[in-house]
Amino acid sequence: MENQVDRREFLKMLAVMPLLPLNLPEFSGQGDASLADQNLPNVLILVLDALSADHLSLHGYPRELTPNFERLADRSIVYHNHTAGGNFTSAGTASLLTGAYPWSHRAIHLHGTVVDSFIDKSIFGLFREKGYHRSAYSHNLLVTSLLFQFREELEVLKRTRDLCLVDAQYSDLVFSNDFNAAFWSEWLTMRGSGGSPGSLFLSLMHRFYRVVNKFRIGQNYEELFPRGVPNLHNLFFILEDAIDWIMTQVTELPQPYLAYYHLLPPHEPYTTRKDFIGMAKDGWIPEPKPTNRFSQKVSEGELAKSRVLYDEYIAYADAEFGRLLDHMEANGILDNTIFILTSDHGELFERGIRGHVTETLYKPVIHIPMMMSLPGKSKREDVYDPTSCVDILPTLLEATGQKIPDWCEGQPLPLTDEDGSTSSKEIFAVEAKSNPKLAPLRKATISMVKDDYKLIRYIGYKKIDNEFEMFDLKQDPEERNDISSSAQSIAAELNEIMQAKLEQENQRFG
């Protein structure tokens, strides 16, 4: 009874209670970094949107336009068979950030978001627990939608518009607490998501505003960007601005930090800077591949032209990346930073398909670059085992002494090719834009790489239900010859593994 608090003391305690949170790191402005071990390495993930590994000379592409990526490769572990979680931004990025495949996180639609149960399962939340300062930025509004979901776990979430020349959106300004729903509505109201805009009159004024902006910016930057200023849906930007900002961030962020920066080039439209125009006009045309049932019927000539534009845009992205690499090297940032350069998905210029809006999962659209530079390591390692973007999260957790959570579907990346720990595991990619978000996958394309084979299965499409293709990646890395009918027993075995996995994942949404 002696320990009982009397009324006066109780009132005193009540009076100071509102001040208590000021001592907690999240309220004091120090961030969780104050709890962190300062010897932990920084983590910097740089994603260049829609960068297909098939277009990089370091993976055997005949056009040599990326000397700076090769410079990074010289001091990194280079994963030659790295696969995205899906064939477009939402699916691929969510897989990278959560370490789970699209059938789990369910960011499977354009501007898709992860299911509620995954909001606290991102890389940002895990690194918060370790005391890392977390910072993120994206040029791509599809990624912004995901980052908005994870905003509670981020200390710095820079707005997309902050590194853009002009942004005609208003949702992030007016409805910053409810960006995603407001943005989806804005898209319908002002632009029409696929159809007509929902606003009868003001959408015309908004259109006029966008056209005027496009014209003004086009005039201002005409000399530097004769093919048009880099943009996506009229959100115009200059890559140089983003790179400059990242340079300041990597030097000034409280350490240790986890920084995720997602930049648009070389995502279409392919509007390279003038210095790179003509670099890929060498007359080279790759040998045509068999037309696919999902062909958009783009001619080989058109595909070759688009490929040139894309490659020249990659050269611009590489040059700007080179500036960042120079800065990091000059300031010794790589000495205490795990630096990852990767992408969210690739791009296709074959089989009559251009870009990445496709139901297919052929190699160029999911084969992405993955280079990891580790502190104190300056020798290149080449890893040829198949790996996936879902492996990045467990790799970073392991490297920073953290436990890998059970929801994570990846496993730590091998650090050398002799490691062999991942050589026989299955690597998946999922495309399911037409499937309901919260239902079992009944309309989807799923690819699985196991050992030397790749199985692509088409589920629920009209006339193509449950059909599959299979390629022998060792004999046919370009995926030209479907061997599903000539190697039926292997195909059946792989199909069984995929089916079991699919049924297991579908159970959660049954």
Binding site: D178, A181, W184, L188, S196, G198, S434
Partner: protein, 180 residues
């Protein structure tokens, strides 16, 4: 201030006009919502879907207010006999005509764009001629004016319904944005 107030339209006229504006704008907005909802059902949770619909409805309400404001402002600026005298009938017929012209622009944008500059000038001329003709007809025919007003008054009932739904949508919007 008193002089400015004198130039404002009557409350009754403003309500009749607002009802027609709300009707036209909401019909289009809801039509587009219904087109999109099947796709959204695939990808959004119920609460997200309610949110998106609410934003769209609140936007339609705000758009209606802005259009009304423009009409009221023009009426206040112009001499009374040009507009204010027959404010409700003129603005109602103009908003209906504007909708009739704008909807094809939204629906057949690519075709209209393919007409080029000459086509655009021709299209705009047609729009202008229809506006002037309707405007003149309101002054010429009291029967025409009466029928416009009678349609507008019937629409008011529906408009009240839309405004009530907008109000509910606004509450949803507040609940989604206010963090406690």
């Amino acid at each position: 201030m008193g002089a400015f107030r004198q130039r404002l339209v009557t409350k009754g006229d403003a309500i009749t006009t607002f009802a027609m504006i709300v009707f036209v704008i909401h019909i289009w907005s809801i039509y587009n919502l219904l087109v999109e909802v099947p796709a959204w059902i695939l990808r959004l949770s119920t609460w997200e879907l309610v949110g998106v619909v609410s934003y769209t409805l609140v936007f339609a309400f705000v758009e209606s207010l802005i259009i009304l404001f423009v009409f009221v402002l023009i009426a206040a600026i112009l001499p009374e006999r040009f507009f204010r005298q027959k404010f409700a009938s003129i603005s109602v017929i103009l908003i209906v005509l504007a909708a009739i012209w704008v909807i094809p622009i939204h629906l057949y944008e690519d075709t209209i764009r393919s007409w080029g500059m000459l086509g655009a000038v021709g299209f705009l001329s047609l729009v202008l001629i229809s506006f002037i003709a309707a405007y003149a007809f309101v002054f010429r025919s009291s029967k025409f004016e009466e029928s416009i007003l009678s349609v507008a008054q019937r629409v008011t009932v529906l408009a009240v319904l839309y405004v009530l739904v907008d109000l509910a949508a606004f509450m949803v919007l507040v609940s989604r944005n206010v963090t406690i």
